[in-house]
């Protein structure tokens, strides 16, 4: 493939970041917005071209005679040479998942760029302070995220992983005069940094044993070990499995070194993808502007962890212990987040917990994926859900942004009954809810159904568990929907200031994403994205996904979703006492859910009391009083010693004569004694 488009995809957002960041203050707000959006638009076109070429051109570089999709490295430049053999390169890898991610990122990013032109103004059209900076940061984020997904090696991924974290920090703290935004951004950075420590050590272990950072080498070899052929365009390496197995220190504390490496790498993914117990930063990250939440904390950055596991999936297949851990972590997180989402008041927090829960679905799906079952259905389902979730969750967040923009508050208590005032938002939000609840034929139905099927193939327990979570999902989303748009009539005191739909820059992304959420489920993912590039279906049509459904699973999940929606309708459609009764019936449960199971309090205790109080402060005290005290005491002792012998040097001649005489007598007597 020609290198021009890939270079534009990476270079243009970076250029826009530097351009808007350095020169933004010299240009008008409008111009900065237009330039930023246009830049992202060009990137979008390039990314679509690349993805389209990859999937549909039939070029033998991308697809072989058997219809299997291949990995292709477009360019790879040496950036830092650690040792003659261990080289850190920056490059551009295209394969099914990176092409898919290019589409997702540029689509959502473009929508958010467009939307922010309207969102980042108040009702009188006055631009928000720092508007240019906002676009600069968005561009930086897009650059980092694109660099992350096209990484050719795990260290490149780590580099962009850190950059993504930093741009997330900058965007969460965009309203930097607000203390809550500042502490939220700090929290997000530090929690993910802690997770990255695991990621880094995992990389170090993996690279020490394998002698390479390159994905193509790591995964191709792993796949050969499993008797599958995942062809790569260049190079072969030794069999990693045997390297790990034949090593004298191949086990550590009962688990193999490879398991350790993979679990530590997954820890990095847990941080970015907000898996329990490292999820605490994501709800707070909602302090950022809502378009940022849509882009970073719903659609793109938070799925980086899923993408990481997917990228190394062949390696994970060699150590299913690590996959089992992923399933457990994912399933617990999914359930926990769904429970919490049921009682939150802040609509962005509900969506945040919903995001955590949905990402956990993707994780579980990867964890249960096995080549034996439907050619690794779980892997495909996970990527499919990543794709559809990005679309409908971004839609929901952008709707929430429109609501917040119109009402000026994040709480649903200030909204209620908005359906008449904001009809477009109402319809698009409803489509988003239907999609996430998994109602046929909206996008979420297909992807979630594939995930549940994959769980079913793995273990009946996790299938039931995840189905319950899916039911909860439908419940809390429709609770939110009814509380915002129904419940009771909205009281308007002044008809001139009635809430209303938004300018076209905000409406257009909503409509586009709503349409996508309606139809994204029909994309024949099984033929585009599979774990080994091998297509799942013989023939492809628009109805492929529908024809290949497991209808027994689908019927059950549909029933669960519909029942959950009906319960939500019963409870929240009109103002009634039922929710209060429910709450009083289970006060403890409600309390724990409302306070998010007190995770934040626990973390506060650990960081403030233990780390600051019992580590940092004693160390600082020790340094000043013990170490420095010792150094000072040398000086003091020297001083004291000088003072104490200072009396001898008095300047008094009589004293000197006395001492002289005593000395002479002493020496004389000693000499005399010796001589005798």
């Amino acid at each position: 493939m020609d290198v021009t488009l890939p270079i534009i995809i990476l270079a243009l957002p970076l250029f826009m970041f530097l351009f808007l960041g350095l020169l933004g203050k010299y240009m008008s707000h409008r111009l900065a917005g237009i330039l930023g959006t246009a830049g992202m638009g060009i990137t979008l076109i390039c990314a679509y071209t690349v993805a389209f070429t990859y999937f549909f051109s039939g070029n033998p570089d991308f697809i072989n005679a058997e219809g299997e999709r291949l990995q292709q490295i477009v360019f790879n430049v040496t950036w830092l040479q650690f040792t003659p053999s261990l080289v850190l390169r920056l490059g551009f890898l295209i394969d099914p998942i990176s092409s898919m991610m290019l589409v997702v990122i540029t689509t959502i990013s473009f929508m958010v760029h467009l939307y922010s032109n309207g969102y980042m103004r108040d009702h009188h059209g006055v631009w928000e302070k720092g508007f240019q900076r906002f676009y600069a940061f968005l561009s930086l984020f897009s650059f980092s995220m694109l660099g992350l997904v096209v990484a050719t090696n795990i260290f490149q991924m780590y580099i962009f992983w850190e950059l993504v974290g930093a741009s997330s920090y900058l965007l969460i703290g965009f309203y930097y005069t607000k203390p809550s935004a500042v502490s939220a951004s700090k929290k997000a950075f530090i929690v993910t940094r802690f997770a990255d420590l695991g990621f880094l050590i995992g990389i170090l272990i993996l690279s020490f044993y394998a002698g390479t950072f390159d994905f193509t080498h790591l995964t191709s070899v792993a796949v050969e070990g499993l008797n599958h052929v995942y062809q790569v365009s260049e190079g072969t390496a030794q069999n990693i499995l045997s390297i790990f197995a034949n090593n004298p220190a191949s086990t550590f504390m009962g688990a193999s070194v490879l398991t350790w490496a993979l679990v530590l790498i997954f820890m990095g993914g847990m941080g970015k993808s907000a898996m329990m117990p490292l999820h605490i930063w994501l709800p707070d990250a909602m302090e950022g502007p809502t378009p940022v939440s849509a882009l970073i904390h719903a659609a793109t950055m938070v799925v980086a962890g899923v993408y990481l596991v997917a990228r190394l999936f062949p390696l994970y297949l060699m150590e299913t212990a690590a996959l089992d851990i992923i399933v457990v972590v994912g399933a617990l997180t999914a359930f926990y987040a769904a429970m919490v989402a049921c009682v939150q008041v802040d609509i962005k927090r509900v969506l945040a917990f919903s995001t955590i829960s949905q990402i956990a679905f993707m994780m579980v799906s990867l964890g249960v994926a096995r080549p034996e079952f439907h050619h690794g259905l779980g892997y495909m389902a996970s990527m499919f859900h990543l794709f559809t979730h990005a679309m409908f969750k971004a839609l929901l967040f952008l709707c929430a942004g429109a609501l917040i923009h119109a009402i000026g508050s994040n709480d649903y208590t200030a909204m209620h009954g908005l359906r008449k005032y904001m009809p477009i938002t109402h319809v698009t939000f409803l489509i988003g809810c239907l999609a996430i609840a998994g109602i046929i034929p909206f996008a979420g139905f297909f992807s979630k159904d594939e995930i549940l099927t994959a769980c079913f193939g793995h273990s009946i327990f996790w299938y039931i568990w995840m189905s319950c979570v899916a039911g909860l999902t439908a419940f809390y989303m429709f609770r939110l929907y009814f509380l915002i748009f129904w419940w009771k009539e909205h009281k308007v005191h002044d008809p001139h200031h009635a809430p209303h739909d938004q300018p076209w820059t905000m409406t257009l992304p909503l409509v586009i994403l709503a349409v996508v959420s309606c139809f994204a489920g029909f994309v024949p993912f099984g033929n585009l994205v599979t774990w080994n590039g091998h297509p799942m279906f013989e023939s492809v049509s628009f109805l492929t996904n529908l024809e290949n459904l497991d209808w027994s699973v689908a019927a059950i999940s549909l029933t669960v979703a519909v029942v959950a929606i009906l319960i939500a309708m019963k409870m929240y459609k009109t103002e009634n006492e039922l929710p209060a009764k429910m709450r009083n019936a289970l006060p403890a449960l409600w309390d724990w859910c409302y306070h998010r199971f007190y995770w934040d309090e626990l973390y506060m205790f650990i960081t403030h009391r233990i780390i600051f109080g019992l580590v940092c402060k004693p160390i600082a005290w020790f340094d000043r009083h013990i170490i420095d005290g010792t150094m000072d005491s040398f000086a003091t002792l020297t001083n004291k010693a000088s003072w104490s012998i200072r009396g001898l040097q008095s300047g008094n001649v009589q004293t000197y004569v006395w001492i002289y005489l005593i000395g002479v007598i002493l020496l004389g007597s000693i000499t005399a004694i010796c001589l005798i």
Partner: protein, 521 residues
């Protein structure tokens, strides 16, 4: 003598001294300082390019531009000069920091005396980096240390007499060890019957220091230089010293002088005494490993901006010595990168702190807040410096730390698998933890100092950076970003020196010292 380019790194500062002495007003002094340091920077860039060219066309000598002039023949003392990639990197660093430091002291009181001492200090620094004769090296080392006393004692702030005295005495204490070590090396510099020498390269070629003497002399020199490299537990001069020092002095001290310590440790201690380095590395690994996390933890609870940075320097410089002691090519290259990176970014930090302090007249982060709204330029620079410090890719800290971690981990695993103990591995993982702690204290400062609401309404009238301040900080930021974006250029510059033919310590595959002492496996 004057046909050797290296001599000019001492000649130009001496001319600057004369120039400053003749100046009549502050404008002339500024002009001399800026022109002189620009000349030094230009010269070091030329040296860098010429060196790369010479290597490219096939120069294989360990040191280039060598020259030697007799100074005191009865003791064989010569002024011997010569540089390799590492010295050139250090020279470049020093000249950039001198340049930016001159801009940062634009409005200092009593400029004539201040610049005289500052330039004298940098004469010592440049002389140290070009020397390959142990005696002249030590002499230049002392020339660099002494002016510090006056610079802090006269132009400093706060408890300046105490700090100046403490800093000078502790560093002099280190020098005392060092001098013993160097004299010891001199008396064992050649085999029986051959003339003794101070020349580094000849001593290394002779390899005549017996193993027992190495075990005695290595700690002497390592601790001697280590005091200046802020090695735990000899680091306590650093927080007080930096807190009292004026801006440019903090910049030069943290940016360049602390590098003398690291540079000396590997150029003298490890290079000349490979056997002892291998045997005794474990002691200093533990000490420097402690430095890395200890400094970072201490920084978390400080309230004075300069204390935070001083402790952060303890952590970062600890990483330099830590990486050198890995005795592994990758980690040692990382150490040099870390020296460059730390030099630039700490200089940037101290410059910014000086500028903020000059406006708000406080360095207590509890007394300030929301400076981003008042002085956005300085605040953004501070955030960039912070990001470099916590290892954001694209800035210098990341490449240095990652090179160190990759090298250390490889060495640690090699040791472990060879049955030579898990000390290196364990301490590498402990050192890795510093990336999290660093993030904690950097973001704490950024959050309290720059973001949030304005704490003190009097601060609202303060102004943003002046042109000379902008020039100074922008230069440093560009350098930090250059290292962060093109690390391989610098790795290629320094990698020549770290080959087993030159550093014989890299030939020790079994790290017997560690294994025998700790018996870990």
């Amino acid at each position: 003598m004057f046909d050797n380019i290296l001599i000019y790194f001492v000649v130009i500062p001496v001319l600057m001294l004369a120039g400053v002495a003749l100046c009549k007003n502050v404008k002339q002094i500024r002009a001399v300082a800026v022109v002189g340091s620009l000349a030094l920077t230009a010269l070091s860039v030329y040296l860098l390019l010429d060196y790369l060219h010479l290597r490219h066309v096939g120069a294989t000598a360990q040191m280039l531009y060598t020259g030697s002039w007799a100074w005191f023949t009865p003791l064989n003392i010569n002024l011997s000069v010569g540089v390799d990639g590492i010295s050139i990197a250090m020279i470049l660093l020093s000249s950039i920091i001198l340049l930016t430091g001159s801009f940062a002291s634009w409005t200092i009181a009593q400029p004539k005396e201040f610049f005289l001492w500052l330039i004298l200090l940098s004469t010592g620094v440049f002389g140290f980096f070009i020397s390959i004769d142990l005696f002249t090296m030590f002499m230049f080392y002392e020339v660099a240390l002494i002016p510090m006393y006056l610079l802090i004692g006269v132009w400093g702030s706060g408890n300046k007499n105490y700090s100046a005295m403490k800093l000078t005495l502790m560093l002099m204490g280190g020098s005392a060890f060092l001098m013993l070590g160097l004299i010891g090396i001199y008396y064992h510099s050649a085999p029986e019957g051959q003339p003794l020498t101070w020349n580094l390269l000849e001593i290394a070629r002779n390899g005549a220091i017996s193993e027992n003497w190495q075990l005695f002399l290595f700690p002497m020199t390592f601790v001697g230089f280590g005091v200046l490299g802020a090695m735990f537990p000899f680091h306590t001069w650093s927080p007080d010293g930096h807190a009292s020092a004026p801006t440019a002095v903090s910049m030069l001290h943290a940016g360049v002088l602390m590098k003398l310590g690291g540079y000396g440790c590997f150029r003298v201690a490890i290079y000349l005494m490979p056997y002892a380095a291998n045997e005794l590395a474990w002691i200093f690994l533990i000490l420097t490993g402690i430095s890395v996390v200890y400094g970072a933890f201490s920084a978390c609870v400080q309230t004075d901006l300069k204390y935070i940075n001083a402790y952060s320097s303890v952590s970062h410089c600890g990483l330099v010595l830590f990486a050198i002691l890995m005795l592994n090519t990758t980690a040692m290259s990382g150490a040099i990168m870390q020296m460059l990176s730390h030099g630039l970014m700490t200089a940037l930090f101290f410059a910014l702190i000086g500028m903020i302090y000059g406006r708000t007249h406080t360095r207590d982060i509890r007394q300030m807040g929301g400076l981003m709204q008042i002085m956005p330029y300085l605040a953004v620079c501070y955030v960039i410096a912070g990001m470099a410090s916590l290892g954001l890719p694209g800035l210098s800290g990341f490449v240095a730390e990652m090179t160190i971690f990759v090298g250390s981990f490889q060495q640690g695993m090699t040791d472990y698998l060879a049955g030579a103990g898990s000390l290196r591995l364990v301490f590498t993982i402990i050192a890795c933890c510093s990336i999290v702690i660093t993030a904690v204290y950097i973001l704490r400062v950024v959050g309290k100092l720059l973001l949030g609401p304005v704490y003190d309404d009097h601060h609202r009238e303060l102004t943003d950076a002046t042109w000379w301040e902008r020039l100074s900080t922008a230069t440093l930021i560009i350098c930090v970003a250059a290292i962060g974006c093109f690390p391989n250029f610098f790795i290629n510059l320094i990698k020549f020196t770290f080959s087993p033919e030159i550093f014989s310590v890299l030939n020790f595959t079994q790290h017997s010292g560690i294994a025998s002492v700790l018996g870990m496996n």
